[in-house]
């Protein structure tokens, strides 16, 4: 039993499951965020309130936190092991034909993690009461942040990086879970591409609209 | 002085092996554990032998010069492996397979041995299939076969153009299974330098650890050589560049007689030589001749691109000369026919030493996809090497040294003239006579290793159960080690000007020119002188850099070339002795009016067995070949 828990393949499997779970959450989050585009703060705040208080969502919230922790910890652990697998590197950079997205997952993932921490300070920790603020009016908090151009730009960059991460992540998850073959691989690739463009783009539109039109 | 006893069991042909097995002595499981066996070589006879003996419970030690047993050169066999399954219902049978091999070998092989290998051929296919070798299949899920040269049935099982790789990896998988079980111990990166004979019996070997340079002693109750052929003596051949004759040659010097050394198969289809730096001639499988048509222009010096030469200006010389077998004549016949055309000035390509192998008609008829399915990897490899796309332009091919039918003499037990020393696969002489048919080498190698040796070696070891583990401190081991160390020291101390490769190239040229596809009295006599001169030069002017106690690839090469320089003389001596043409051995003095090989059964229906005699010329012994079950005929493929 030890072997399955600690094998690299299993770690990847768990990472992929956790990652997929996070991917399921993103469209929900995006759906709520899109309400920021309305001039009426009510729908957004109601949704935020619902997310903060409904018991079932509470369970999902714990799962999400766990998923992030597992995904990040395993990602870093595996990366360290992977670096150890080649103690002496090459003098000439490896030019093997691979997509850049796949080679830099640890870095894109790390960037997303930093963004997540900032994001938690801005919103989630307010809800938890760790940081000061009004948890009942996230609409106002968001509006205030997005009108700061430097914040909006940082936000865009982060979602661009998230897009890179997602494009490889989704394909990779299917491969790791053993759900890819000759027939499905191109299909999965297209789905990943659509997902990796639509979701980050959806998020990125919000500060864009707010900056320009408000 | 050796005596030859082939130990062929009495009785009708199809009963011999059954009777042998029924009467063979057995060794109990408890005693097997106490008996050590050394297997040298991990190709398609060595790996099967070692794993089968391990499965039986013997304590096996296996040696190879490569880093892993999976790299033995059997891996490069392309076309297939024969068996008398008769899945195609085309009239095949064990007898037909036996007869084809005997006839293909131009009646210079032992009937009983050949019948036995044909008999076990079906079991080989069963076993390889069971251990997961992916042979080609029909849509219905059954195994499929293809035709090969020299026969009129379709009995060759294959895995695209990589059959050797697939069966070798299968054999390797059984071998590692036994290594895991602990019955087999693997010693990779070791080169056998000498055989140790104690009280007339083979009791061990001396090897060089190629990483540390240390000479090691290993003992056993019996030693099995599965060390392959000596085709690299030509320098340019289809063999792996490190394949060598040293193990067999040193066994010869310790008393194992060498049989028919001059019988070398020149394969008709290899990529032609392109320049002087070339180190290797790459084989293009004989199976290509199933669909490819061989031709040269009808006019001398026709330099038009092949596709511009119209049908009426092409000479499909194999189809013209051999209407019955056409492009599927045996290898020796196809090789000589190509040489004849090229020597007469009809050759193609920049050197004029090549003929066309054209797939135009097959592609037209079956479609490109069907051809790709069968030969895809060969076409790719050809393109990698030459840059020519054979789907649109004919391949250019020329004969190259390939397989040695000659080898250590063995009796029906596969035992050499040294008791306790066995030889299997290409390293022995036993089954292919003067010419081997395509897809028979994998069959013979695997058959020897899996299904024959385990019986015969047990029969021998049954009388050794009281012999305790062999001590490696005996005087014989010390002497063998000292001899090997002395030779290495000598090679390193010459400090001349020329590298081992330079000498190897020179030797190769002498052998190819005088003891290659065709031979004659004058050329052979001259070659003996040339080889002696070269050998003298070698020991005066060789340059081996580095030391003995380290990884030293030049030293490895030098040792091998030193042995080849001696073996070459024996090959020529044998070729001189055999004043007849048979199979691959073509003496220009002995041919039919239409230039086919002319045998002389009255004088030469024997195996020429050479015994080492120190500095004196080797002693010739003759094993008369008695043909009780087949009638000797002039081989005809017309």
């Amino acid at each position: 039993m030890n072997k399955i828990l600690f094998s690299a393949v299993s770690k990847k499997f768990v990472m992929a499951l956790a990652g997929l779970f996070l991917l399921l959450f993103l469209p929900v989050h995006l759906g709520i965020n899109l309400m920021l585009l309305k001039s009426d703060p009510e729908p957004f705040n109601t949704a935020a309130h619902f997310m903060a208080t409904f018991p079932l969502v509470k369970v999902v919230e714990i799962l999400l936190i766990l998923a992030i922790l597992v995904h990040v910890t395993y990602g870093i652990t595996l990366q360290i092991l992977n670096w150890c697998s080649r103690p002496v590197g090459y003098a000439v950079r490896n030019k093997s034909d691979t997509s850049a997205f796949s080679r830099f997952m640890i870095w894109t993932g790390g960037s997303v993690l930093i963004f997540l921490v900032i994001h938690f300070f801005n919103f989630y920790f307010i809800k938890l009461g760790i940081v000061e603020g009004d948890p009942e009016n996230f609409y106002a908090v968001a509006q205030q942040l997005f009108v700061i151009p430097s914040y909006a730009i940082l936000y865009w960059i982060c979602f661009l990086i998230l897009g890179f991460h997602l494009y490889h992540a989704l394909q990779s998850a299917f491969q790791t879970l053993g759900l890819s073959n000759e027939f499905w691989k191109p299909v999965i690739r297209v789905i990943s591409l659509i997902y990796a463009i639509v979701i980050p783009l959806g998020f990125a539109i919000i500060p864009f609209v707010i900056l320009l039109f408000k | 002085m050796i005596t030859l006893d082939s130990k062929i069991p009495e009785g009708p042909l199809e009963q011999k092996w059954k009777r042998y097995k029924a009467n063979a002595k057995l060794v109990s499981p408890a005693n097997k554990k106490k008996l050590d066996i050394i297997v040298v070589g991990t190709g398609i006879s060595g790996a099967p032998a070692a794993s089968a003996l391990g499965e039986l419970g013997y304590n096996v030690k296996v040696f190879c010069y490569q880093d892993t047993p999976r790299r033995a050169h059997s891996v490069a066999a392309q076309g297939g492996i024969n068996a008398a399954k008769n899945y195609k219902n085309d009239g095949d049978s064990v007898y037909h397979l036996f007869y084809d091999i005997i006839k293909g070998g131009d009646f210079r092989a032992r009937e009983a041995n050949v019948y036995r290998i044909a008999e076990v051929s079906n079991q080989i296919i069963d076993h390889f299939t069971a251990i997961g070798v992916p042979f080609a299949r029909e849509y219905g899920g059954s195994l499929t076969t293809r035709s090969f040269g020299g026969v009129q049935v379709s009995r060759t099982f294959y895995s695209r153009g990589q059959t050797g790789q697939q069966v070798l990896l299968g054999a390797y998988s059984s071998l590692v299974r036994q290594i895991k079980e602990g019955t087999v111990t693997m010693y990779p990166r070791r080169e056998m330098l000498d055989l140790v004979v104690i009280n007339g019996k083979a009791r061990g070997i001396v090897v060089r650890n190629l990483i540390t340079g240390k000479i090691e002693r290993h003992s056993a109750h019996a030693v099995v050589l599965a060390t392959g052929g000596y085709g690299t003596i030509y320098y340019l051949s289809t063999l792996a560049v490190n394949s060598n004759a040293s193990a067999a040659w040193n066994a010869y010097k310790r008393g194992a007689a060498f049989a028919n050394p001059s019988f070398v198969q020149i394969h008709p289809s290899s990529v032609p030589q392109m320049n002087e730096f070339q180190s290797k001639l790459t084989l293009m499988s004989e199976s290509l001749r199933n669909d490819g048509r061989v031709w040269v222009p009808k006019a001398k010096g026709d330099t038009r691109p092949p596709n511009d030469i119209p049908e009426e200006d092409r000479d499909y010389y194999l189809e013209r000369r051999y209407p019955t077998f056409g492009n599927l004549v045996p290898r020796d016949v196809a090789s000589r026919a190509a040489k004849e055309r090229c020597d007469a000035g009809y050759g193609v390509g920049p050197t004029g030493l090549a003929v066309n192998l054209d797939f135009r008609d097959a592609i037209k008829k079956q479609g490109k996809k069907a051809i790709e399915e069968k030969y895809g990897n060969l076409f790719e490899m050809y393109k990698d090497i030459t840059g020519i796309d054979s789907y649109t332009e004919p391949m250019r091919i020329y004969p190259a040294g390939h397989y040695t039918m000659g080898g250590l003499w063995v009796n029906y037990d596969l035992m050499t003239t040294v008791p306790g020393l066995f030889a299997v696969g290409e390293s022995n002489f036993s089954d292919h006579g003067a010419n081997r048919l395509g897809a028979s080498s994998l069959m013979q190698g695997a058959g020897d290793g899996y299904f024959i040796l385990p019986y015969t070696i047990s029969n021998y070891l049954a009388s050794e159960i009281k012999t305790p583990r062999i001590n490696t401190d005996t005087i014989e081991f010390q002497e063998a080690e000292a001899r090997s160390a002395e030779k290495i020291k000598r090679l390193l101390s010459i400090k001349g000007k020329q590298t081992a490769t330079t000498f190897h190239k020179k030797l190769g040229k002498i052998m190819w020119d005088h003891c290659g596809m065709t031979r004659n009295e004058k050329g052979l006599t001259e070659a003996i002188g040339l080889i002696r001169e070269l050998r003298e030069e070698f020991w005066k002017d060789l340059n081996v850099p580095g030391r003995a106690d380290e990884l030293n690839q030049e030293l490895e090469k030098a040792g091998r070339v030193a042995d080849f320089l001696e073996l070459g003389e024996l090959m020529i001596t044998d070729a001189l002795n055999r004043r007849e043409s048979c199979g691959a051995h073509f003496r220009e003095e002995s041919q039919t009016p239409d230039h086919e090989a002319l045998r002389n059964d009255d004088e030469y229906a024997y195996v020429a067995v050479w015994e080492y005699n120190g500095d004196q010329p080797p002693i010739l012994h003759k094993e008369e070949l008695k043909f009780e079950f087949v009638e000797l005929k002039q081989r005809s493929y017309k």
Binding site: K3, F6, S7, A8, V9, K11, N82, C84, S85, R86, P87, Y90, A91, V92, R93, N94, K95, D97, S99, R103, M105, Q171, S172, Q175, L177, G178, L179, N181 | E55, D67, T68, R71, H73, V75, D126, T129, A130, G132, P134, F135, A136, G140, G141, S142, G164, Q165, S173, R177, I179, K180, M186, F277, S279, L283, M381, G387, K497, T499, E550, L551
Partner: protein, 244 residues
């Protein structure tokens, strides 16, 4: 042709290595990369210098002995070729060629460009076989196999065990190698009885040998001289989870 060769030289496993630069003239475009290096060695020996140690044997891309990291590519810049089939016509006259050994913890350097790939044998030993002893096999056609499955099994089993997948992978992962073996047996009915034990054992051994994990980058597939496909890794993953 003329080349500047920057080659990794290392006395033995315990020594520290460094690059040595050689100028080589008179290379013919039709030489293979191995023949070019052999030619270099001949000239070095002639000058009394130490030759470069590297492995090669069959010269037809099937034994898996050769393998070096050439200008940033395992087996060089041309896809689907081993080093021994890589022809010099693919290089520009006057070019500098940097040649390094495979780099991976489980492939320690033995000398110069020669590495120890015993770890592959160890993985195969853990379970890469079907436990049927000589004599126990049923009639070959008693086990029908779907042609498509048999063809896929063959495509996987053409692996030559050269280690280019490990050399190319940023994690030095052996997943492509292991998946090729697992796939071959998983696709054939003969391999099914031991399927679960095999995949567990081989994966455990792979980790034990110190290979990295798979990031699904596809560098292995891109550099595999036998063009073994990434689907095999998906199949390996599938087989592994089914095994528990």
């Amino acid at each position: 042709m003329k080349f500047k060769l920057k080659i990794w030289k290392q006395r033995d496993a315990h020594s520290r290595g460094s690059f040595v630069t050689y100028d080589l003239d008179g290379v013919a475009p039709e030489m293979s990369f191995i023949e070019m290096l052999t030619y270099l060695n001949e000239t070095l020996i002639g000058k009394g210098d130490e030759p470069v140690t590297f492995e090669h044997d069959c010269h037809e891309g099937i034994c898996g002995s050769c393998g070096m990291y050439i200008n940033g590519y395992p087996h060089g810049p041309v896809k689907g070729l081993t080093t021994c089939l890589l022809s010099m016509r693919y290089f520009k006259d006057g070019e500098t060629i940097v040649i390094e050994p495979w780099r991976a913890k489980p492939f320690p350097v033995i000398k110069d460009l020669m590495v120890d790939r015993t770890s592959f044998d160890k993985i195969q030993q853990a379970g890469g076989f079907i436990s049927i002893s000589v004599g126990a096999a049923p009639e070959a056609n008693a086990i029908p196999v779907r042609k498509h499955s048999s063809d896929l099994a063959f495509d996987a089993s053409v692996c030559i065990g050269c280690g280019a997948c490990v050399a190319a992978c940023k994690n030095a992962s052996a997943m492509l190698f292991v998946s090729a073996k697992i796939s071959q047996y998983a696709l054939l009915p003969q391999g099914r009885p031991e399927g679960k034990d095999r995949v567990r054992a081989m994966i455990a051994e792979m980790d034990k040998q110190g290979f990295g994990s798979c990031s699904n980058t596809g560098a292995c597939e891109a550099q595999c001289p036998k063009q073994i496909k990434l689907f095999n890794i998906a199949r390996l993953n599938r087989e592994y989870f089914k095994a528990y």
